[in-house]
């Protein structure tokens, strides 16, 4: 079973400045997590996202041939999608274990089973 882990957080919360000891700690948390996940059989893919200010949204509507393109994410929310993983796991409990281990200090992490994987069709 494959699951996507969607990491939502408040992107306005200042990240530690590069070079500070906090930044080192922040970075090593993620590096350790990624190393552990990739060493397991569970890792498929994952990425961190740039801030929503860099997002561009394409919207399609029924019956309209040309999509509209707008600056920014499709919805203003208190927490923004900041990154994701695609993992494969025996069951939901195993997926939740990986999600719980993420070095995220605050925010919400959504775990969703997938219907299919584009690379396995």
């Amino acid at each position: 079973m494959d699951y996507v882990i969607l990491i939502h957080g408040d992107e306005s919360f200042p990240a530690p400045a590069p070079g500070s000891p906090e930044f080192q700690q922040f970075l090593s948390g993620w590096m350790n997590y990624n190393a552990e996940l990739r060493a397991s059989d569970n890792f498929v893919a994952g990425a961190g996202l740039q801030p929503t200010a860099t997002a561009t949204t394409i919207r399609r509507s029924f019956g309209v041939a040309e999509p509209t393109i707008t600056d920014g994410p499709f919805a203003e929310t208190k927490e923004q999608l900041g990154g994701f993983y695609l993992i494969t796991a025996e069951n939901l409990d195993e997926a939740l274990e990986w999600a719980k281990k993420l070095p995220v200090p605050a925010g919400s992490i959504e775990v969703r089973p997938t219907t299919f994987r584009a690379d396995q069709m």
Partner: protein, 439 residues
Amino acid sequence: MSSGELTEGGISAPPVRGMAAALEAAIREEGGRVLALLARRYGDLDLAEEAVATALENAVRTWPRDGVPTNPGGWLLVAARRAAIDRLRHEAGQTRRALGAAGDPTVAVGHPAREGNAVGWEGVEGTPDGRLLSGGVIIPDERLRLILLCTHPALDRDAQVALTLRLVLGLSTTEIAAAYLVPETTLAQRIVRAKRKIKAAAIPLSLPADLTDRLEAVLSVIYLVFTEGHFSAGGDSLTRVDLAAEALRLVGLLDGLLPSRPDVLGLRALMTYHHSRRDARTDGDGELVLLDAQDRSTWRQDEIAHANALLGRAMLAAPPSRYVLMAVIAGLHANAATPEHTDWASVVSAYDSLLTLDPSPVVALNRAVALAAADTPAAGLRALESIAGLRSYHAWHVARGDLLARSGRAEPARAAFADAVALAVNESQRRFLQRRLRD
């Protein structure tokens, strides 16, 4: 299951009653166990449920004719397993036909992936203590996994309650809907949605290495079912299942599956104490009777003794958990011959400990009321008025009115009761308060 369903077969009354009782007992006692075993074995809840339903239908048909089997659980297990295999064979046949192949080895019945453990279930026997044996080997009781599945944190609380009652206790959707006064379609939808999520998200029938967190959810669900039954018990309940009794059955089952766990024992003791007072809690008109005014001669002493024994075992572990402390408090009340005989100082100190684990204003309110009895109404009043965050809660104003009245301050007491009336959420509370206002 009512005996009426069976009389249609033209069977005379006394055996039918015995048969209906035997069937109902088998469903209640063994249905959940057989379901848990099949779900574990085939990893498919729907298949397991359907197989158990078929087995029960067979029982309804054949037991009146052939008599109740000596080992009803074993009989149901064998029948349900046969039904599951029939269904798998049928599915495999359909797949074969769909593939246009005579014998595709990958869809063979009894494929290891779908027939998990190795214990054979032919010739199942029962033991005097209710366990099931196959070839002298104990068939494991898988109900703890089923309970943990039903109360999985990925399911919302309402779904957890509905699934537990349906799958573990074997109540019908109709019975659960009636007990919770919700439309049957709503309840059925809730169960369907939960089962769909279990399947789609692959929520497992697993036993986590550390049960503590998961057990907390199980205990919450049990206590929630109990309080629903305990506090909503009305006289109109000929057809309503007794949720308090069902919750006691569930906690007893859990206590059997996880023996000597203080939190389980504590909850079981707490519920047993509360339940021992069921005849005294309401008067002839169905109105609530407060603890102080209850007729203590109707409290079930045998059940109080049982609760005392459970609590004694729960207290062997230190420090006591939340449910154990709640049971201690319930026990201090249950073992007092009159309200005046209550060891109020111990009640207050149990509330003090409880507050360290559960610093909620409602616990603080109960502590203030106990303090008024242990010390003086004025001391209780001071404690009560120092609690923040309860000004919109009617019980706070009731307690305040009561303590003011007992301090001889009639006018402020009247005003407090009037505030409480304005905040009461249901008619029975309002009627109760209006009685107080008249007194």
